[in-house]
């Protein structure tokens, strides 16, 4: 028995030491692009024949089976103009793609082109896991996207993602409640201050609240408060302006003008469907949910451009295409990503998917300028014409996910748990600075 136990301990120690030795060699091979592969890629118009057959693995988030025809058609088109290149398209649910990417990267089978949201792309880019696309793109290509959106994943002059389809927020109004409050929906509020006044009046006259919102970091940039300093080396949000902004939200919650709730998107849908709020600030996807959950409310809803905050900007919420650092075919991968996100293909995708494009040339299309009066068309025109003002709120923020969660937690502490504003801001500032210094 005694020897058995000894043997076990020895073998466990041996195993551990082997593991310790092994983990030094974990994923250390940095995939560097081949020398001479920094030529600008074609956008798919001209053919670049691959010397050897290349198989690109392309991942998207929740686009199958709805858009199978669109993508299969594009892939066929691309393969036709790029002899020797084949594209294998895989689609994963939103929640699963990050895990998939990690596991495939860990096992040395990285995909070549991946669809990610801005937060995740920033997180991976700042950790050095994505290819710097500036080495591959021409100036003309880089400038073909809306600047605010393109720059959201640029750090230290390195562009880590190509913007793809996007959405900006619009203001949805429950016409019945607004009219009941004696307000005129034909002259909607233009600024946040006006929106607050409207919300107050709705609350006084109808008992419903103005709106519900999620307590997230974007509340800072909406009011022109920078989350980080210019060179992204330290927190910059701990300012009197931030205190004033949070104080105002706290007072509005006390008044009942804004719901005292950290309401995620599904809760916001519930509140608007139940006519407990008169306004909703979100992207056009909101329409589909309202249509199914509350058809009567849907009939009574109108969409207008989102009132801007002090910063006079509108936030976009974009999907991007990235090329992982470990892709074995970086050159072809960037070419394919550029092809998918060029103006022509983005316009076509917007038409089938009812999303907004991130390429400047696309919004000249009549699809984005003409409205037939339906809620969907109104929302589309209102949001597409504000794209030039759009910026993603995590512009160039490294470790975006970590910083976002620290800020969100701080806001919840103050607004839901009644913590002291200044004290909490100091604490979160320290936490964010730690995140930046640790690079994690």
């Amino acid at each position: 028995m005694g020897t058995n136990r000894k043997g076990f301990t020895v073998s466990l120690l041996l195993t551990m030491s082997m593991l310790l030795a092994a983990c030094g060699g974990n994923g250390n091979t940095k995939g560097t692009p081949d020398a001479g592969s920094t030529g600008a890629p074609g956008t798919g118009a001209e053919a670049t024949a691959a010397a050897e057959p290349v198989k690109l693995e392309f991942w998207t988030i929740a686009l199958q089976p709805t858009f199978n025809d669109y993508f299969n058609n594009l892939i066929t088109q691309y393969e036709g103009s790029h002899p020797g290149v084949t594209v294998e398209w895989k689609d994963y649910p939103y929640d699963a793609i990050s895990q998939r990417l990690l596991t495939s990267t860990a096992s040395g089978k990285s995909p070549d082109v991946v669809n990610l949201n801005t937060e995740f792309a920033s997180q991976l880019g700042s950790k050095g896991a994505l290819l710097n696309l500036n080495e591959y793109l021409t100036d003309e290509q880089a400038k073909s996207y809306f600047e605010g959106i393109y720059n959201s994943t640029v750090f230290d002059g390195k562009a880590y993602a190509l913007p793809w389809y996007t959405g900006t927020e619009v203001l949805f109004m429950n016409k019945k409640l607004v009219e009941k409050a004696g307000l005129d929906p034909a002259n909607p509020p233009q600024t946040r201050e006006e929106l607050v006044e409207w919300a107050r009046q709705v609350h006084e006259k109808t008992g419903a609240a103005g709106y519900a919102q999620q307590l997230v970091s974007k509340l800072f940039p909406i009011d022109g408060i920078q989350i980080l300093n210019e060179d992204k080396t330290a927190a910059a949000f701990n300012t009197p302006e931030a205190e004033a902004m949070i104080t105002q939200i706290r007072d509005l919650m006390k008044e009942g003008v804004v719901l005292k709730e950290d309401a995620d998107f599904s809760k916001q849908i519930q509140y608007f469907s139940g006519e407990q709020v008169a306004f909703q600030l979100s992207g056009p996807t909101f329409i589909n949910f309202i249509k199914t959950s509350a058809p009567d409310v849907y009939k009574n809803t109108i969409a207008v451009p989102l009132p801007t905050g002090k910063a006079n900007l509108r936030l976009s919420n974009s999907m991007n295409l990235v090329v992982p650092q470990k892709s074995k075919n970086p050159q072809q991968a960037v070419e394919f990503a550029a092809f998918l996100t060029n103006a022509e293909n983005q316009t076509a995708f917007s038409k089938v998917a009812n999303t907004l494009p991130s390429s400047k040339a696309s919004i000249q299309d009549p699809f984005f300028t003409d409205s037939d009066g339906s809620l969907e068309a109104e929302a589309k025109v209102a949001s597409s014409q504000s794209l030039d003002k759009a910026t993603d709120y995590m512009v160039g923020v490294p470790s975006a996910a970590d910083i976002n969660s620290a800020l969100a937690r701080g806001l919840q502490e103050i607004l839901m748990n009644g913590a002291d504003i200044k004290e909490t801001l100091n604490k979160v500032e320290k936490e964010v600075n730690n995140i930046i210094s640790q690079g994690s």
Partner: protein, 293 residues
């Protein structure tokens, strides 16, 4: 005799092998692998560096982690409550009243319901305009709507209640099995000696349920510290850090922010804590510790 034992143990091992293999690959190996990982800054996507004990020193300076440990310890408070209620429930459903089987089934339904479904149902019930607020307002117990899951003073306790509600039936079944193993003549002998129903419970039932109480307490302590599903689905640790439990924090650090090295270190710390608490439970249940005879 020896030969018989050999073949018998071989058969036993053969039967256990598939399960053990599964456990080895998906449980033991990750636990062992977590130890070296905790000494690195492993994140899958970037180069891995050996950082020594940095992750552990960082953990004890990490305000959020300390809060999550505290919340997990607070969560352990539900253990005695669950045990007491489930023992009482087991005693009730052990009686021979008509329709008792229906009650057994009813109490057990939450156990077999998926936690995701349970969490979603409770989130509707506890919503601002949910049934709970409606009933309490009607009864005059509260004067205005309470956001049960978005208020720091109530969120953690509400989650504990949901965990308890779902777990009661499970422990009740375990205790029921224990109760049915108690010989009836012990009760008869006690009755002859003039014991009433309460004395029967205190002097016969509870002492003989001791092994079951030990087992149930142990797994429910572990369950309470490792609680994840209901917290992640309903509050994600919010508002602020009021319901941040250690499992949720480890998950966020590892699988949401890719700090696997740091998350492994946190996991080890929590495992040691669970180990220490388990030892404590064993100690408290030692015969001669609390003698109820």
């Amino acid at each position: 005799m020896y030969k018989g034992f050999r073949s018998e143990s071989f058969t036993a091992w053969a039967f256990m092998a598939p399960g053990l293999l599964f456990l080895a690959v998906f449980t033991f190996w990750p636990i062992i692998y977590g130890i070296p990982l905790s000494l690195t800054d492993y994140s899958v996507i970037t180069e891995t560096k050996y950082v020594g004990l940095d992750n552990f020193t960082r953990a004890f300076q990490d305000h959020n982690f300390l809060i999550s440990l505290w919340n997990s310890l607070v969560y352990v408070l539900i253990v005695p409550v669950i045990q007491i209620i489930s023992i009482l429930m087991a005693i009730l459903v052990n009686s021979r009243i008509p329709g008792v089987k229906m009650f057994r089934a009813a109490y057990y339904i939450p156990v077999v319901t998926s936690m995701v479904a349970v969490a979603l149902i409770w989130s509707w019930l506890l919503g601002n305009n949910g049934v709970v607020n409606y009933l309490l307002l009607k009864a005059g117990i509260i004067s205005e709507q309470v956001s049960w899951l978005s208020t720091s003073s109530t969120a953690l306790y509400v989650l504990m209640f949901i965990t308890m509600w779902k777990g009661l039936g499970y422990y009740m079944m375990l205790y029921l099995a224990g109760l049915q193993g108690i010989p009836a003549d012990l009760y008869e002998a006690a009755r002859v000696d003039g014991a009433g129903p309460l004395r029967l419970i205190v002097h016969v039932t509870l002492p003989l349920l001791r092994p079951h109480i030990l087992f149930c307490t142990l797994i429910s302590v572990m369950g309470a510290i490792r609680v994840f599903d209901e917290v992640y689905i309903l509050t994600k640790g919010g508002p602020g850090t009021s319901t941040l439990t250690s499992s949720v924090y480890i998950f966020q650090k590892g699988l949401e922010q890719f700090n696997f090295g740091y998350a492994s270190a946190l996991g080890l710390i929590v495992s040691l804590m669970v180990g220490a608490l388990s030892v404590l439970v064993f100690r408290l249940n030692r015969k001669g510790g609390v003698n109820s005879y």
